[in-house]
Chain length 372, copies 2
């Protein structure tokens, strides 16, 4: 007997935790599969402990679930296909296949007429020589698979660097990308329902350090309807092409108003955490509405927001909550250098007010650069 | 070893559930004590099943808790005192003692110079004769203890009704109250921190049917700063007098701008549910901030809201979520006639928009009068 209100989730980190916190009010319950027995999502649902590639554990996860989703793009495609043999997996396994491989991702954009940095597929050391002739320097070599938060990447500044960067990414199939003189990094979060309806939240401006997202400003400062339209068009073409259901994150480079796709994430996303307080409907609630076949909620912003990741440590509650309009989200994780253990969202009605609050927050533990 | 992040809660209904949903992001975990093994709060924390008067169960509840609170004003005072022997109970047991007895509650207001409907304490049948001479008719006889949602009350319209109303309230100690020609029913939710700081949310206008709250409008239509000041002053005097820590609800009669206290609830309150979406900080989060000694968050409204209780049934998700800006809160309870099983909050930026949405919601199952 399956329970239509039981959502099974592959992965049980903070994204799963926030999905469950959004879903419990909707009358849903959650079961997570995660290799860690202390995974963050365990605070808000049942937690099964096993590798995501463990097919018996996958069977146990989904047994009586009404719908199955994932909160990590690294879910083994074999596990996803196992789910699809008997259950509804949303987004479908095709979204994993494509986003797990930078070459597939970029080729998809190319087919859809969506701009990306110029790139060449580099499947062996010899191909790197050819690629650098086409792409030029500076360029970035990125492993096709498995990289995240800046890992599996190496910058190529001269033709003498080829052996070093090839070794740096581990001598694995890769993609060589032109370095783009971008003005800023943006992202658009979009959602598509089972009926094909789509919606996107206002563009977000993202600030990284050490390859890790530190701060998101939402809506992105200086956002124009034209820029939003460009982002919406990109997101919608990808969503429709994949017959995608759920939330998709598209990381973008803003090159003087032209938007190039950097990376896709087939899930709720760190740069969408501001939507909990800052949008009429959060990314977490709309992901659930989408996969359950319910109407999507409004993605309108209701405040100006800054989202600050807490890396390596959480600020103490008294200091953080003393800053006006600050909302603390702890993931219940043990602090460790470089680890995302929570985030703070501060809301405001004017950019100046936002700046004032943000300045006070940015001195607190966890909000300064503690990453290696 | 006590865990400073473990909050123990006497009672495990929907108020406890929403406290936990607000507290998990703050890094807290929850343990509830409730007589029902399927109590609503079990979805978001550990649930111990026993009567709240079971002192051994109370000991198990609080064993390693950092702080203890309650989500029901009917908690036996003996249990509250048991907690206080070894732990911090907030609000303290004195708040229970006073609010469990209508006479004590009204006498407190009287001592503080806060208006209430005229009243007389009626501890036996003979006292009722004297009381009706003082108060006149029409009047309402209310049992001193144990009444809620309109139970334990009887309306007295003539001097011939004395025996009937005395029987109707069960022949127990009571209070006879003058019927007040109020314009509308309001409530103010207020919070006081461990440091004595206080804050209140904007006044709410409440609509009851069959003695049960159906709809709250927040902020109350036509709210003036003067009216809010009057409500804040009432709430603050009560909070300070009781050295209260946490959220307090004060139900009020608006008699052409004069505010009279109807009833107090020493807890988060149904008429404050709109604060989840509609205020910068929800009643649930601020209750937790208060009892943990953290700074209070802003109580400013961020939207116009209508909160509609779902009585006896939940509307189906598709119909409810199709209404713009509608947020569904299921309590995960079995539907039963007259039972609060969830609520809907709809947000808007203008009263007209709010009206439009509300009209669509009010035809849905659970939002019409299904109570006996």
């Amino acid at each position: 007997m399956s329970d239509p209100r039981l959502v099974a989730v592959l992965g049980g980190g903070q994204l799963g935790r926030m999905l469950a916190l959004a879903g419990i009010p909707l009358g849903l319950r959650f079961r997570f599969l995660d290799p860690s027995p202390v995974a963050a999502a365990g605070a808000a649902g049942e937690l099964l402990t096993a590798e995501l590639g463990d097919l018996e554990a996958v069977d146990a996860l989904i047994a009586d679930a009404g719908v199955v989703t994932y909160e990590w793009e690294g879910v083994p495609v074999e596990s996803a296909r196992r789910v699809e043999a008997t259950h509804t997996l949303l987004p479908a396994s095709t979204a994993l296949e494509i986003t797990q491989d930078r070459a597939f991702e970029k080729e998809l954009c190319h087919r859809l007429g969506i701009g990306t940095p110029r790139f060449a597929v580099v499947d062996d050391r010899a191909a790197l020589d050819a690629a650098v002739e086409t792409i030029g320097v500076p360029a970035i070599l990125k492993s096709r698979r498995g990289g995240y938060d800046g890992k599996g990447q190496a910058v190529l500044v001269s033709h003498d660097d080829l052996d070093r960067v090839w070794a740096d990414v581990g001598g694995v199939p890769a993609v060589l990308e032109a370095v783009v003189p971008f003005t800023r990094e943006l992202s658009v979060l979009a959602v598509r329902g089972r009926d094909g309806a789509t919606a996107s939240w206002p563009l977000v401006e993202n600030h990284h350090r050490g390859g890790i997202l530190r701060t998101s400003l939402a809506p992105a400062p200086g956002l124009t309807p034209e820029l939003q339209d460009r982002a919406d068009s990109i997101a919608t073409r990808i969503l429709d092409a994949l017959d995608y259901v759920g939330v998709l994150a598209v990381e973008l480079f803003d090159v003087e108003g032209e938007l190039l796709v950097n990376e896709l994430a087939p899930r709720v996303h760190n740069s969408g955490h501001w939507t909990i307080e800052g949008a009429e409907t959060s990314q977490f609630e709309n992901h659930l509405r989408a996969i359950l076949g319910w109407p999507l909620g409004s993605t309108d912003a209701v405040a100006l927001c800054a989202m600050v990741n807490c890396i390596g440590a959480l600020p103490d509650h008294v200091s953080a909550l003393a800053v006006p309009n600050t909302h603390l989200h702890s993931y219940g994780k043990e602090p460790r250098p470089g680890r995302k253990v929570g985030h703070l969202t501060v809301t405001a009605t004017s950019p100046d007010e936002l700046d004032t609050h943000l300045t006070r927050l940015q001195g607190l533990p966890g909000t300064v650069d503690t990453a290696p």
